[in-house]
């Protein structure tokens, strides 16, 4: 990726949870911040996300969860991307208690965005995650 190209992000919700208000707001925030958003929407699997990342040549994946399943589901995506040979960081948004942050980092999640994150926080978190590529 050259520096002038906008960041391409795949946004998806995993599993059965249908709370998509946050993800839709984030999609618009990132667009307003100049990123290219590939919005997959609800009920995506790890395979669907990997396929989208490959087809869209995405730099980063954002997944949203509000169902307390993040400790199970987030590592699934991280591992699926890694297994596919993709160096694409994963950012998680939703309700993640502070006590789980360490476990999320250990599982290879590049960033976590909680409720109340501002547009600047969201864009910065995604940029920082992208900056970790190749490291």
């Amino acid at each position: 990726m050259t520096k002038n190209e906008p960041i391409r992000i795949v946004l998806a919700k995993l599993g059965l949870d249908g709370h998509d208000r946050g993800l839709k707001v984030v999609a618009r925030m990132l667009r307003d911040a100049g990123m290219e958003v590939v919005y997959l929407g609800l009920r995506q699997t790890a395979e669907m996300i990997v396929t989208a990342v490959e087809q869209e040549d995405a730099d980063v994946v954002g997944i949203s969860m509000h169902n307390a399943g993040h400790l199970t589901l987030a590592p699934l995506i991280v591992n699926a991307l890694r297994d596919a040979g993709l160096d694409v960081p994963v950012v998680v948004g939703g309700i993640v208690p502070e006590s789980d942050l360490e476990a999320m980092a250990k599982a290879g999640v590049a960033g976590v965005l909680g409720p109340g994150a501002s547009a600047e926080d969201v864009a910065a978190c995604v940029r920082e995650a992208v900056a970790t590529r190749g490291k």
Binding site: L16, G18, D20, V25, M29, G41, N67, T72, P115, G116
Partner: protein
């Protein structure tokens, strides 16, 4: 008034049951309330939503809430149950028992209501796509306990239209789903006269980001759509409309919320009488449940949510709600702990017993501002009804289908949600603890954690039931169900009840229906 009990203020001043002019509470169009005496005659039902882990775990919480003075049960199911998937489905990994209780078979439902007399409590079940299946299980549990169907008292959410618009827990496409809703309405109308077959819900529309007026309008439009569907299925409006109930959000803008509740009653009464020909006043009276706004709860300084909830609860009560759930202060972070749920219930009890607001019906009626706000809410809602009526060529039901299909509802809601977020982000709108007054708090909040062993326990239980049941009987019941599903003239409830009794799982019943109805996939609108 010839009441025996005199109502006085804290300082001893006797107060009347209502002030102001006609039409009074209890009189058409019920803007001021559906009963003349309102809370003097009967307090609202303090109904606290609960569910997590296995059926046994939730059963214990139910009993605790009843002991603490709760007067009705309200069941939260986990995501797999809400989506009609069994715990052993690949989609269920990580979600079993997490955000609600896991129910796969009738045996789970038997455990869920163990030692609770279903003839005496009223039970609300928050479930939509597979609502007919959970109702069938509830009926079967009652039957096993010797309680007649006709005695059962409760509410099934069963509001599928708002799922396509907001909450997104749909299974089948809209039309066959509405047929299932109508089947439930017909079944309960004939056999369960004390049951509310649909709780037409604005709550989730608001949580997804709509404005107050959109919540009001989309919800009532969905209500009109169900009336049209039931009439088309051959039911008479006055036979089922008295049992339709509503469920609204109570957010933080106090007077806007009160205006919304008052407008809801007025609109429903007028439309039911004038457009749908309802003559029975019970059909015209809009009864509703209220829940405080989960989306308003902040993860930052969670303790201050107690104050938000109290204000929102007060708006619901002044707005004339029939039942109320108050959110717990820790719900932006996790499912509530028992302590947090107790504080939320106590908040309602303070409103009921200490504030004096129950003494007088519609205490804000006649305020120029509140009357104007009520009119304004109604005006905005009527504009939306007009749009939907045109979309549907004179049918609100068809208009709602069209608005789902072309993404109009989800677009309107996403626009409003983004507008709100930008206001918070720019600081035009202050949220205490989030973008202002951010110091302190939050250090001592204990959160509920769900035993990670729940999934394993539930999977083992499901495997045992599948082993021990008569698989021929299950297959026969599922075959009957899919063949009846193909005939829109047949009410599916009897076949579903038969299937749950022989221990067909929820997922198997959904699959049998899905083979006929198909699966709904949302277009990815941003």
């Amino acid at each position: 008034m010839d009441e025996e009990k005199e109502f006085r203020t804290m300082s001893g001043v006797p107060v009347g049951s209502v002030y102001g002019s006609d039409p009074l509470p209890g009189e058409f169009p019920y803007t001021r309330g559906i009963h003349a005496g309102m809370y003097r005659d009967r307090l609202w039902t303090m109904r606290m939503f609960a569910g997590f882990g296995t059926a046994e775990d939730t059963n214990a919480r139910f009993k605790e809430l009843l002991r603490a003075g709760g007067t009705g049960l309200s069941t939260a199911f986990d995501m797999p149950t809400l989506m009609g998937r069994d715990s052993d489905n690949e989609w269920s990994i990580g979600e079993v028992g997490r955000a609600g209780v896991a129910v796969d078979t009738l045996d789970d439902m038997i455990d869920l209501f163990a030692d609770i007399n279903l003839g005496q409590v009223s039970t609300s079940m928050t479930i939509n796509g597979p609502a007919a299946i959970l109702l069938a299980m509830y009926v079967a549990v009652a039957e096993q306990g010797g309680v007649e169907r006709a005695e059962l008292n409760g509410t099934l959410q069963n509001d599928i239209l708002k799922e396509y618009q907001a909450q997104k827990e749909y299974i089948f496409p809209p039309r066959p789903s509405v047929r299932l809703v109508s089947d439930v309405v017909a079944f309960t109308t004939n056999e369960m006269p004390r049951w509310n077959p649909i709780s037409i819900s604005g709550y989730h529309i608001r949580e997804a980001g709509s404005t107050a007026a959109q919540e009001l309008a989309f919800t009532l439009a969905n209500g009109f759509a169900y009336v049209e569907a039931a009439q088309a299925a051959g039911l008479k409006v006055d036979d089922f409309a008295p049992r339709l109930s509503f469920f609204f959000n109570s957010h933080s803008d106090f007077f806007e919320e009160i205006g919304k509740f008052r407008a809801a009653r007025r609109i429903w009464a007028s439309w039911l009488r004038d457009r749908y020909g309802a003559e029975d006043e019970r059909s015209q009276k809009l009864r509703f449940h209220t829940q405080t706004a989960g989306v308003s709860l902040t993860a930052q300084q969670p303790e201050i949510n107690i104050a938000r909830v109290a204000i929102q609860a007060l708006a619901g009560v002044i707005g004339g709600t029939q039942s109320l759930h108050t959110d717990s202060y820790d719900e932006a972070l996790a499912l509530p702990t028992e302590d947090a749920a107790r504080i939320a219930l106590r908040t309602q009890q303070i409103v009921a017993h200490e504030t004096g607001v129950i003494n007088v019906a519609d205490p804000l009626g006649g305020s120029d501002y509140v009357e104007w706000m009520t009119d304004e809410m109604e005006r905005q809602a009527e504009d939306i009804f007009k749009h939907l009526d045109e979309l549907g060529n004179g049918s609100i039901l068809e208009g709602v289908y069209a608005g789902i299909e072309n993404g109009w509802f989800v677009g309107e809601i996403a626009d409003a949600a983004y507008r709100f977020e930008r206001e918070v982000n720019s600081g035009d709108r202050l949220i205490v603890g989030v973008n202002s007054f951010t110091e302190g708090g939050g250090e001592n909040v204990d959160l509920l954690s769900i035993d990670p062993g729940t999934e394993e326990i539930q999977l083992k239980r499901l495997a045992e039931i599948k082993q021990s049941r008569d698989s021929d009987l299950v297959q026969q019941a599922l075959n009957r169900l899919s063949s009846e599903a193909a005939d829109p003239e047949i009410n599916l409830m009897p076949a579903i009840i038969e299937a749950v009794k022989v221990r067909a799982t929820e997922g198997e019943i959904v699959n049998a229906l899905e083979s006929v109805f198909g699966t709904y996939v949302e277009k990815a609108f941003v």
